[in-house]
């Protein structure tokens, strides 16, 4: 669509940015939990330890972002809460329940040595189901799975379970989670100079990259049938998607030639480009066809107050984030500590 920068566009861009940040951070977070479980029995190396070391200080922050997404959406687009509240009640309830179990067990596993493996097993496996559930919001906003008869919105479970889009998105969520996390952990292991962990995570990234790409192709192919309106829009935004494929190629090449930092950055860029194209194609609809960014928008004065609160909030927090980054991501002494 033709974009003029209105308050609605700024608001929806911010929300989409939060979704993006959460998706990346959560993918890495849940993925790290999974790898920590997956490699729990290896004696020789430190894959599990690397994953845990990354996970320990970061899960709380990541968790905050899901609240930011929910609160941001409700405050910027209150008009969408009624329909999304009704249709997402069950899938998101199960999602947050799993999240609760997962976070609790993650914390417990640091305190209870005797059952550490069981606790890691549960937190690692639940973590993989959460992205699969949360991503369902995307095919649901295609609109065909929502029954609006009688002025009451209901999720059509039959449609959801029968749709090929559902499975394409789930595959995309799970593979992306594993791909992104193996990539970041390979970089993290590289900086920590843990060569064995680096080797294994690099190998995982090499295997998972093409699978992730395939699943994203599946999302586009199924979209053609399940949301032709969006498929058409996506076509109009194809340059973003093509750029994203180029970024993937660059990232994958960087994994291959053992430049993990470049690879991570390139792949995150890949997701950012694809998300931009996808987001633009979704507009002006928040939920097709009933709710658009105009119809769902908040009060003008509230938007302006919120916008200022964002500027002030992030300005205050930035030094904190930098300090955090310095302590946990770049302190070589800390990273190398066995």
């Amino acid at each position: 669509m033709n974009m003029t920068v209105t308050d609605e566009i700024i608001a929806v861009t911010l929300i989409w940015l939060f979704v993006f940040v959460y998706a990346i951070a959560a993918a890495i977070d849940f993925g790290a939990g999974f790898w920590s479980f997956f490699y729990r029995n290896r004696k020789k190396n430190n894959m599990s330890r690397i994953a845990n070391r990354y996970l320990s200080p970061s899960w709380e922050l990541t968790n905050t972002f899901i609240v930011l997404v929910v609160v941001g959406l409700v405050s910027f687009f209150p008009g969408v809460t009624r329909v999304l509240g009704a249709v997402l009640l069950v899938p998101f309830s199960i999602g947050v329940l799993l999240l609760a179990v997962r976070s609790a067990f993650l914390v417990y596993s640091h305190s209870v040595d005797r059952y550490k493996k069981t606790l890691i097993l549960i937190s690692g496996l639940t973590g993989i189901f959460i992205p699969a559930l949360l991503i369902l919001v995307l095919p649901i906003t295609y609109g065909d799975m929502i029954d609006t008869s009688g002025g009451v919105e209901r999720l059509l479970w039959g449609e959801l379970l029968a749709s090929s889009s559902t499975y394409a998105y789930i595959a995309f969520a799970v593979t992306s989670t594993l791909f992104l996390s193996s990539l970041l952990l390979s970089d993290y292991a590289h900086v920590s100079e843990d060569h064995e962990a680096y080797r294994v995570y690099r190998r995982d990234a090499l295997i998972l990259g093409p699978i992730t790409l395939l699943s994203s192709v599946a999302v586009v192919v199924t979209m053609q049938f399940d949301a032709p309106w969006m498929y058409e829009n996506l076509f109009a935004n194809q340059s973003w998607i093509l750029a994203s494929v180029v970024a993937f190629a660059l990232g994958y090449w960087a994994v291959y030639v053992k430049k993990p930092r470049l690879a991570t950055l390139a792949v995150v860029t890949q997701y950012l480009l694809a998300a931009t194209g996808y987001g633009r194609a979704h507009l002006p609809y928040l939920v097709y066809p009933g709710v658009t960014i105009e119809s769902g928008f908040t009060a003008e004065s509230t938007f302006h107050a919120l916008f200022i609160s964002y500027l002030v909030g992030f300005a205050i927090l930035t030094p904190g984030f930098l300090y955090f980054w310095k302590l946990f991501m770049t302190d070589r002494q800390y990273l190398k500590k066995r």
């Binding site: 320990s56 200080p57 970061s58 709380e60 922050l61 968790n63 905050t64 609240v67 930011l68 929910v70 609160v71 409700v74 405050s75 910027f76 687009f77 209150p78 008009g79 809460t81 009624r82 509240g85 009704a86 249709v87 997402l88 009640l89 069950v90 998101f92 309830s93 947050v96 329940l97 999240l99 609760a100 179990v101 997962r102 976070s103 609790a104 993650l106 914390v107 417990y108 305190s111 209870v112 040595d113 009451v152 919105e153 908040t298 009060a299 004065s301 509230t302 107050a305 919120l306 609160s309 964002y310 909030g313 205050i316 927090l317 904190g320 300090y323 955090f324 302590l327 946990f328 302190d331």
Partner: protein
């Protein structure tokens, strides 16, 4: 059961459970901060050990507190969509700023816990102070929305549409200062008494009196009693303001809390008693003559409106009288306990406490938490049938989605499970890392 009751039960259960962890999440960091400050003041290494052990316990509690808070945030939108639509348009600011407060807390919590050995003493204090600040700010901001529900301002409803929105007027609504202060000081009080309770329990259960350990726990207990005592007195003062706010802004809640049916001057304060629901007659209650009038307007001849002034379908549930009494009674008890404990140690200069007194202290933390639960249930059910006072009824804000019953069972089961497991984990950890060993390692 009807939809509204199930939705309220589900959300009430979530909040009732989350509030335990949220309150400790505000109260414990302040105690950790005090321990760090005491360390700097007295150079006594015991306070470092205290700070570290409390932090460990706090980190485990966060493992439940954070995800249940996330559940609460998501459930708000899922269960009360119509309400959240108004919230989104009018009172979105506190929710949004709360996220920043929460980010601040999470950032510095990670820094304090996982980089403890790499921080200078000053940075430790700064970090834990920011954790405590972020925690209390979150609580205050969430309370802001709660206050807005009682005294909605900053917008008008015209034909069911929200118009003329002034977000900062909504933010600084009339009951915000008094309500937020109440939540803040009572949470600090509860955190402090919880610490005192645990220390008292340890002192009681000590098999052979090891004076080294006894002294350690006594320091923790005294810190808890003093901090808790100060905040319980502040809570009492603030409670008086809260009652006056009710008198002005939610008079039917005050009338229901006091079982006052007829409008009266020289109205009495009622303690305890039973109510005949048919005749609305109160029996066996203790009457304190003129006290309710005085409490409401600082004059004995203040006119207090009785419930009969309002139509029956706008009455809050009448059981809130008991919750109100319970909350006030516990507040008084806690103040008394801390005065007794402080007097025994500092004025009578006794180092060993008699066990009857210790058993009293053991109950302080759980009692404080009970008062918190009473207070929240009183405040939220006392606002019924309104979700936004005199603007939106709870029944009109409830989701149309079915199968809430199943979710209620599922969520309750998870809460029970989390509750049991968090206690088990704390017990396991502290049994494996006894204080004796940690002190010996110093």
């Amino acid at each position: 059961m009807d939809q509204v009751v199930i939705a309220r039960s589900l959300f009430g259960t979530t909040m009732g459970f989350h509030i335990i962890f949220a309150t400790l999440g505000v109260g414990i960091p302040l105690m950790i901060l005090f321990a760090e400050v005491m360390k700097l003041q007295t150079k006594d290494p015991d306070y470092t050990t205290m700070a570290m052990r409390w932090t460990k316990g706090f980190a485990v509690l966060l493992g439940v507190g954070i995800p249940t808070g996330t559940i609460a945030a998501v459930q708000l939108s899922l269960l009360w969509p119509e309400f959240m639509e108004v919230v989104g348009k009018v009172i979105a600011l506190p929710f949004q700023i709360e996220i920043f407060a929460f980010l601040l807390e999470a950032l510095f919590m990670s820094i304090y816990v996982y980089a403890y050995d790499r921080l200078s003493p000053t940075m430790r204090i700064v970090s834990v102070a920011l954790v405590a600040f972020g925690a209390v700010l979150s609580a205050v901001l969430i309370t802001n929305v709660h206050a807005f529900e009682a005294t909605p301002e900053g917008f008008r409803m015209v034909n069911g549409e929200v118009v003329d929105v002034r977000p900062w007027d909504a933010f600084f609504n009339r009951s915000f200062p008094v309500t937020a202060t109440h939540v803040m000081v009572s949470a600090w009080m509860t955190g402090a008494f919880t610490i005192a309770s645990i220390a008292a329990w340890k002192m009681l259960r000590m098999k052979k009196k090891d004076m080294r350990l006894y002294a350690f726990h006594r320091k923790a207990m005294m810190l808890g009693l003093v901090v808790g005592g100060v905040f319980s007195i502040l809570t009492a003062f603030n409670g008086h303001d809260s009652a006056q706010h009710l008198y002005h802004d939610q008079p039917e809640k005050l009338a229901a809390a006091e079982w006052l049916f007829e409008t009266e001057t020289y109205a009495p304060l009622l303690i305890g008693g039973t109510l005949d629901r048919e005749t609305l007659e109160v029996k066996n209650a203790i009457h304190i003559p003129w006290a309710l009038s005085f409490l409401s307007g600082n004059r004995f001849d203040t006119e207090v409106r009785g419930l009969n002034t309002w139509p029956r379908d706008e009455w809050p549930p009448l059981f809130i009288h008991t919750l109100f009494n319970g909350m006030v009674l516990i507040g008084g008890l806690l103040t008394a306990m801390s005065v007794v404990g402080f007097g025994w140690k500092r004025i009578l200069k006794r180092d060993v406490f008699p066990s009857w007194m210790m058993w009293g202290f053991v109950t302080a933390g759980p009692l404080a938490m009970l008062a918190i639960e009473f207070g929240w249930i009183f405040s939220c059910t006392g606002r019924q049938p309104w979700i936004i006072y005199r603007i939106m009824r709870t029944a009109d804000a409830t989701t149309s989605a079915t199968n809430l019953g199943m979710l209620f069972v599922l969520f309750t089961a998870i809460y029970v499970f989390l509750c049991v497991s968090v206690v088990a984990v704390l017990r396991y950890y502290f049994n494996r890392h006894p204080l004796e060993k940690e002190l010996a390692d110093l």
